[in-house]
């Protein structure tokens, strides 16, 4: 009898402590206040103003050249507007090429001092002493960065379409708008990866300059070296011993797969598949696979989407994984100076 009582008491005690372990209140309390403040900071900062001017100038420049090109050819092209993004003429590269270059820079500029900046200004203890959780602060900062990025990208996107209407004098088709919208989404999440990475470094390093350098070093690594490393790794992991075609294919496939660890590759493939409807494969195409295909015939949007679905989800997943890492690191950080 007494044993039963004590056991039920113990159970009650355990339940009580289990209930007590749960933190009270929503982790998102105050998040929108953080988002509003951080976005206001981003949009009024000199740093962002410089980058925005750069991007807009780039957009106008490449656009001007591309529209000239298109006007001269007067081609009966179904996807005139998509050509606006992809047409290149010396000395200017295509707009998408420049965008792939600028977006990581903007994202890094938005994120590299987000957490350590608060520590350096000694505002972190004061802000965390307010009735909010750390979750709200970090999520708010990330969302503010992502929204700012989305705002910049959307503005440029609209600018391009607007200039296209003015200079080409034709309305864009539904397919084109759909493809361009998906391209916009991919661009935002491509930036999201670099934003999350810069935030991870801003948590790890106490000096904003170190965090910025580490972010830019990672970016350069993927732009310059990863392609070479992927080639070397593919050669050593899947060597060509007897010169069979299968060996060549296996090696090329491995190199492609390794290359896709770089967000730049994922983004480039997404861009190409979305903006050039005639692209039907991102890997190696064997002649046998091309049987019955009409060369140069555009794929419908749904088919292109199937083609880049892994890349698109990869970009989004990369953003989420890096943010989760930032989240874990930040939760464990001591706020003592």
């Amino acid at each position: 009898m007494t044993q039963a009582v004590s056991q039920s008491q113990i159970r009650q005690q355990v339940q009580k402590t289990a209930v007590k372990r749960v933190r009270e209140g929503s982790p998102w309390t105050g998040m929108w206040a953080v988002v509003a403040k951080e976005m206001a900071d981003h949009l009024s900062s000199v740093r962002m103003a410089i980058l925005e001017v750069l991007i807009v100038l780039t957009a106008i420049g490449t656009m001007y050249v591309a529209t000239q090109d298109i006007q001269q050819r007067i081609s009966r092209d179904e996807f005139l507007y998509l050509r606006l993004f992809t047409n290149a003429r010396d000395p200017l590269p295509a707009f998408i090429g420049l965008l792939a270059f600028f977006i990581p820079l903007v994202a890094i500029a938005l994120g590299f001092d987000s957490v350590n900046g608060e520590f350096n200004r000694r505002t972190m203890p004061r802000v965390l002493a307010q009735p909010i959780y750390r979750d709200a602060l970090l999520m708010g900062k990330f969302l503010a960065g992502l929204f700012t990025l989305a705002l910049v990208c959307t503005a440029v996107w609209l600018l391009i379409f607007g200039m296209g209407v003015l200079r080409l004098g034709v309305a864009p088709g539904g397919q084109e708008v759909g493809r361009a919208l998906l391209f916009l989404l991919a661009t935002i999440f491509f930036g999201g990866i670099w934003l999350a990475l810069a935030m991870v470094f801003s948590i790890v390093f106490r000096q904003p300059a170190t965090a910025a350098l580490a972010s830019i070093a990672t970016w350069l690594f993927f732009i310059v070296f990863w392609g070479m490393i992927a080639g070397l790794l593919a050669q050593s992991l899947s060597p060509i011993r007897f010169g069979f075609a299968e060996e060549y294919i296996a090696q090329a496939n491995l190199q492609l797969a390794l290359g896709r660890f770089s967000p730049n590759t994922l983004y480039a493939e997404t861009m190409i598949a979305l903006l050039r409807p005639e692209i039907r494969s991102l890997g190696i195409l064997l002649p046998s696979q091309m049987e019955g295909a009409i060369l140069g015939a555009p794929l419908p949007l749904s088919e292109s989407l199937v083609l880049i679905w892994p890349q698109l989800t990869g970009l989004i997943a990369g953003t989420i994984v890096l943010f989760a890492l930032a989240y874990v690191l930040f939760q464990r950080q001591e706020i003592r100076p």
Binding site: R23, K37, R122, V127, A129, Q130, R336
Partner: protein, 321 residues
């Protein structure tokens, strides 16, 4: 007696092998100003962070306003104002904008924000510079802005970490006045400092921290009694034959540590104010009294004496409440 505002039980915080706070039992009553004293690195800031739920205790328990800061941090932080050591603001924003951000984080309704901020800024005398960027502010103004920020949430308890460090004498005087007026409003305050005379000027009770432990706790007078043996240090200046005067003084009950500093100056300690008795003794010994002075014990003396004692005999068990 009403429930304590702050109550800790065997509170411990370890960073790896280093024990920052060691089995701390602290209790602060409503309406009192409590001073946490101790050298840098004694565990004051860590204790404060645990009170606010900003750091998890390794063991032990904390109750602030009857709430558990590590489980109900939002409730605790909306009722407790915290002015950190070397408070920082967003320099590129104005004083008003800085406070508006904090008000929004506190979930204060939009139509209330302006009123609260204006009141708080007027309270600390910064209403003239509300629209100026914080980057133009002096150290003292920043500290006052910090107090304004704390007042916005209309707290029941205010915790200030080293509130006067780095301030010029005038600014720290203003801050101490502010602390007094907050106390008059019935707000409980917890201060941490290593500037003893300032703490002494405003605190009802103090706790001496040493190596993560509360070594001593009590009112300033009590502590003096306990550490120095006497709370009053009487100093006289008298002409006359020294041995006779000393003999007469030694006959006064309650006097201790009587010594002649030079041919005219004498010092002694007493548990209460024995000036009339001392004067009488000097005169009866044929001395001519020129000066009769009493110094209340300063915390500095207590502090120095206490830490000297601790250093002298490290194995000594500290006198704790």
């Amino acid at each position: 007696m009403s429930a304590p505002i702050i109550q800790t039980h065997e509170l411990t915080k370890k960073y790896g092998n280093f024990t920052a706070v060691d089995r701390l039992n602290l209790s602060v009553q409503p309406g009192e100003v409590f001073g946490l004293l101790g050298p840098n690195g004694a565990g004051k800031t860590t204790t404060i962070l645990m009170l606010l739920g900003l750091t998890e205790p390794t063991s032990g328990s904390v109750q602030v306003l009857g709430l558990d800061p590590s489980r109900q941090p939002l409730k605790v932080k909306s009722r407790v104002g915290y002015l950190p050591d070397q408070v920082g603001f967003y320099d590129e924003l104005t004083a008003y904008e800085n406070l508006a951000y904090i008000a929004r984080l506190n979930g204060i309704a939009g139509d209330q924000i302006k009123k609260r901020i204006d009141e708080a800024l007027a309270r600390v005398g910064l209403e003239q510079v509300a629209r100026k960027r914080v980057s133009t502010f002096s150290r003292g103004m920043r500290q006052r802005l910090g107090v304004a920020e704390v007042l916005i949430k209309q707290p029941q308890l205010i915790i200030m970490d080293e509130p006067t460090s780095g301030l010029d004498p005038e600014a720290s005087h203003e801050l101490l006045d502010m602390i007094r007026s907050l106390k008059e409003e019935g707000i409980t305050l917890l201060l941490s400092s290593h500037l003893l005379h300032q703490v002494q000027a405003v605190c009802d009770r103090v706790g001496l921290f040493s190596h993560g432990k509360m070594a001593l706790e009590g009112a300033v007078d009590e502590l003096a009694q306990r550490v120095l043996g006497g709370a009053y240090r009487i100093q006289i200046s008298a002409d006359g034959t020294q041995p006779e005067i000393l003999k007469a003084l030694k006959n006064v009950p309650g006097l201790a540590h009587i010594r002649a500093v030079n041919s005219r100056l004498y010092e002694m300690e007493a548990a209460r104010d024995l000036r009339p008795e001392v004067a009488q003794a000097v005169i009866s010994a044929g001395g001519r009294l020129y000066k009769l002075d009493v110094q209340a014990q300063s915390l500095d003396d207590i502090y120095t004496a206490f830490f000297k004692e601790v250093a002298h005999d490290a194995s000594r068990v500290p006198i704790a409440n």
